[in-house]
Subunit: 217 residues, 2 copies
Amino acid sequence: MSEALSLSDRAAVQRAPIQFYFDFSSPYSYIASEWVDAVAARHGRRVQWNAVLLGALFQTTGLKPLVEYPVKREYSLRDIERSACFAGVPFKQPPVFPIATQNAARVFWWLAASDHAQAVAWARACLRAYFARGIVINDAAALRALAEECGIDASAAEAAWADATWKDKLRQVNEQALAAGVFGAPFFVVDGEPFWGNDRQVQIESWLASGPPKGLA
Amino acid sequence: MSEALSLSDRAAVQRAPIQFYFDFSSPYSYIASEWVDAVAARHGRRVQWNAVLLGALFQTTGLKPLVEYPVKREYSLRDIERSACFAGVPFKQPPVFPIATQNAARVFWWLAASDHAQAVAWARACLRAYFARGIVINDAAALRALAEECGIDASAAEAAWADATWKDKLRQVNEQALAAGVFGAPFFVVDGEPFWGNDRQVQIESWLASGPPKGLA
């Protein structure tokens, strides 16, 4: 298999992947999903995408979404849109927000079991559908149509999201994420160093380029 | 008075100042306090510093400090230190944290009533003392000594922080900040646009240089 890889591919394989935790209903996850692979690639890294359920993480940790604090809601909606524009990422406030996204996440893990790249393509399609195209991805028909768009058999996808195997897998991933200190999304781990938030892009890129900043213990 | 100003000073006076809300016990406010004037100056702006009491804002809004969520505490302490290192700002985790900082804030407003620059110098001295020198600034003796270091009469400073005038002023400022949508610190308002967090530095600088990002409504 290694003959098929270019030199830069081989270097990327040899270095630990960036762990990227995202939630299908998290707008900052969506923005980050649009730059994380490019940032990693610039530094010879790959990205391991991990779909989590922020709702489940919040339940365990006693946190709640930004937009549920009345005083933060207006600011957050503005900041999300502004951050998307600054990142050059198309964004349209979804008609319903936030939503439950366990079905999209279960399909992700079903696909990831055999092909991480296809799972990532699915994740991108779902995030773009929800945050740029106004498609509410907790709707079964919308999700089936998205699967077809991605070249995935819609009935197999629906079977997967109803399957206890993938329900359990998602539950396990959430538990592992919590154990790894993940309490929000997007969340990144680079060589053991945790970074929380789309706004840590600059720090992550600097870390990948030159390691810890001067003076950090 | 205008003859004494250079051309660039005059331009800065003509454009609206950046509103900068900070709390003396907020490490991210400290980091931001070290760059906000330079960023403003690069774009011909001045900064209006506003000392607020985050504790009072939190009480009204039902929020609490990052470090009081157990799951976020360890990450936050790491992120604060790392963010300071990335910004090139000296930082040492204070021996007691967080603390009540209303006395430092009242002295700030007492000074600001006659000389904004002196109030800013006081704010810098307090923030650096607490976040880089291990001086716990809710201690009366430490605060008196800091005043002396800044060329401020220590007894006058102590009289100010015990004075109902400056207690009321701080209360008013907090209420005005809340009314202006401020719910955390540091918080910035640039020509009506709100930015929350030390990590919005890049967006603020871009906004000052070229206005809203492309596509922002």
